[in-house]
């Protein structure tokens, strides 16, 4: 049993509020043989500038510090790849630094940018993330990614990170999914939903109009994970511009309040020790007293079935901004759906549903843009961007893409940013005849979870409309 001190559990108390001013994204794809990374990064930066009616040169005048999220140096065989980008963006002589936290790199980049503005060091900060995973053969890419696991204890076993991860999916499947065909179908519904939403997103790499049966009939990767349960491997860039209140309102009319928190857990799944469940505001200790009876094998926490890092990121974030219940207090979320089953695990870790009941978020229809059961708007739509399964997982950019996507809804500009024929044409993608504006009407608060691998790092970003701030942050 391990415990945490009060000092470790302290809720962040920032020096001043921080705002998201704008954001931008490149096209996302599996490979861009004719494009250098800097071209993708400049695409993202240009979109961010144009979004608030500025030229890139004008936007650059505001920036005081730069954070660059880029996970896998190995892929490009270029150390200090961040410095290459910083130079190409012409942002000398500003201080800059690279951020690397695996799959959570994008979220961590925002976390750093946030703290830099909140502290007063900078009034305006660039958080730019990208990844380039097309420049090695796939099996070598898998081997490089496996080097993010423990080099001595894990990597030599197959050089396949998915395998180290998948044992957790297996445990969840057997303990909480009870190996039920109905649960397997619920997983498939997530894959159908996210790929379907990606069809409305011109940036997206993996749009597909498919059925639950298509998912269930897709090749087995590692049962219960099927090919269509898994996220994409992508190339692309995304950025966000964060500023203090005065600067933010100088740069645009409607910046959004942004708060970012982070948690961590062991790099090796093997090292997870037993502990009590850290509770979120909408949970009680009593409700979990019989978890092991309801779900035999489910009494070990976090065991292989929960992500402590996600739980702690949510713990800090909810108390920081005053979230009592994420389903009631938020209007939409973007979650790290690396696999359909880890998406369900996240619902529990961040308190959208209690541990063991994640599947009901899908089965109730709450996670859909339009609830398929009631035909009404979903209570808390998830991954309208298409997520990692349908849109992209260009590692260093992913966590930033999620936040930009949530923000588009809150700015009430989702339709404009995803529906413009010009953008579909520019990306060389065909706008579907049944394209639909997925704008979440009246969105005032949203959340994004950025997650690394087996759960070593997780960040939680909360966006709030400044006129609709929650009360009661501790």
């Amino acid at each position: 049993m391990i415990t945490f001190s009060d000092k470790q559990l302290k809720i962040p108390n920032m020096q001043r509020p921080v705002y998201l001013v704008t954001g931008g994204m490149s096209k996302f794809g599996r490979a861009f043989p004719g494009t250098r990374t800097e071209e993708l990064v400049i695409d993202a930066m240009t979109e961010a500038a144009e979004f608030i009616g500025m030229t890139p040169a004008k936007l650059k005048e505001y920036i005081h510090t730069c954070y660059y999220g880029h996970f896998a140096d190995h892929f490009g065989d270029q150390l200090l790849g961040e410095s290459v980008i910083h130079d190409r963006l012409g942002l000398d002589p500003l201080g800059n630094i690279g951020i690397k936290t695996g799959g959570a790199t994008g979220g961590s980049t925002l976390w750093e940018a946030y703290k830099t503005v909140a502290s007063g060091y900078s009034d305006c900060v660039l958080a730019m993330g990208w990844e380039r995973m097309d420049e090695v053969p796939t099996d070598e890419g898998n081997s490089l990614i496996s080097c993010a696991a423990d080099k001595d204890w894990e990597t030599p076993m197959g050089h396949i990170y998915t395998g180290y991860y998948a044992v957790m999916a297996q445990k969840y499947w057997q303990v909480f999914g009870k190996e039920e065909a109905s649960f397997r179908r619920t997983l498939a519904e997530i894959a159908v939903k996210n790929r379907g939403y990606a069809r409305m997103n011109p940036h997206a790499q993996g749009p597909m109009k498919i059925t639950v049966e298509d998912v269930l009939n897709s090749p087995v990767v590692a049962y219960p994970l099927l090919a269509l349960d898994c996220c994409l491997m992508s190339v692309g860039a995304a950025c966000g511009i964060l500023a203090d209140e005065k600067t933010a309102f100088e740069m645009c009319d409607n910046p959004l309040r942004i708060d970012v928190t982070a948690g961590s857990h062991t790099l090796r799944v093997a090292d997870r020790r037993d502990m009590e469940i850290p509770l979120l505001p909408n949970e009680t200790k009593e409700q979990y007293a019989d978890l092991g009876e309801r779900f035999p094998g489910g009494d070990r926490y976090p065991g292989f079935t929960g992500f402590l890092a996600a739980r702690m990121a949510a713990y800090y974030a909810y108390k920081l901004v005053g979230i009592q219940d994420p389903t009631d207090d938020l209007d939409l979320v973007e979650l790290h759906d690396a696999f359909t089953i880890s998406d369900i695990q996240s619902y529990e870790d961040i308190g959208i549903r209690p541990y063991g009941e994640g599947r009901t978020y899908v089965e109730s229809g709450d996670c859909f843009h339009t609830n398929p059961i009631t035909g009404e708007p979903g209570k808390l739509p998830a991954n309208i961007s298409g997520g990692l399964i349908g849109n992209m997982h260009a590692v260093g950019a992913t966590g930033i893409m999620q936040v930009v996507e949530v923000a588009h809804h809150m700015w009430n500009r989702w339709g404009e940013m995803h529906g413009s024929q010009e953008k579909w044409d520019k990306f060389g993608r065909e706008k579907p005849a049944d394209w639909k504006d997925m704008q979440v009407k009246g969105a005032k608060r949203g959340l994004a979870i950025s997650h690394a691998g087996v759960g070593s790092h997780v960040t939680c970003t909360i966006l709030q409309h400044p006129d609709h701030l929650l009360k009661g942050g501790e």
Partner: protein, 204 residues
């Protein structure tokens, strides 16, 4: 166990080796092979980029974990235990071996848990056909996560014989013949597996 694309014995003999002499690494032999770049062009012959071949050998230190990796080749599973009387988690046994206690940071004591590991319980598992480059395990790989009585962590390994199931009892086997001094010197088999079914070089 047969590995595809494994370097030949002759190739391996040419590859560099390292000794530690007077507290310093002393490499000898060839540590990298140089190949020329080749152009990458599209269908029209337009230059898109180049290949960058690179073949290197890293030098990697085991430090305080060497006792564990050396133990495998001798048929021993060496865990570590915090014996600091002031530690809140005193007495915890770690497998994976941790040089220091994660709570009090005192130096842990190596403990032989080979007997305890015989009859370990499979906490989870996964079968995968997919591997990365440089894999040396036969496919499909059958990952098993094994928990042991009195050990606070759950070790990942690979099952060499049979099909994995939740809560099956497994026992470790060790590459005592021709050890490679890496984690795959230890694999797992179901309890009761006869010795003649073990992979080449491995013993109980």
């Amino acid at each position: 166990m047969k590995v595809e694309h494994l370097a030949s014995k002759e190739e391996d003999e040419k590859r560099g080796t390292v000794k530690v002499v007077n507290g310093r690494y002393k490499p000898s032999g060839l540590f990298h092979y140089i190949s020329l770049n080749t152009p990458i062009k599209d269908e029209n012959g337009t230059l898109m980029g180049i290949t960058n071949p690179r073949d290197m050998t890293y030098i990697h230190s085991y430090g305080g974990e060497a006792v564990f990796f050396e133990g495998l080749g001798k048929g021993k599973l060496i865990a570590s235990r915090c014996d600091n009387p002031d530690c809140v988690t005193k007495g915890s046994i770690y497998m994976p071996f941790r040089i220091h206690c994660p709570d009090c940071l005192a130096k842990n004591t190596p403990v032989d848990i080979t007997d305890r590991a015989r009859g370990g319980n499979v906490h989870s598992f996964m079968i995968t056909e997919r591997t990365g480059a440089f894999n040396t395990l036969p496919t499909p790989i059958k990952f098993v996560n094994v928990e042991f009585e009195g050990v606070c962590t759950i070790l990942m390994g690979a099952l060499a014989v049979g099909e994995p199931k939740m809560d099956m009892k497994v026992t470790p086997i060790f590459r005592t013949g021709d050890p490679q001094y890496i984690i795959t010197d230890m694999l797992w088999v179901p309890v009761g597996t006869p010795a003649d079914q073990l992979p080449e070089h491995y013993t109980f």
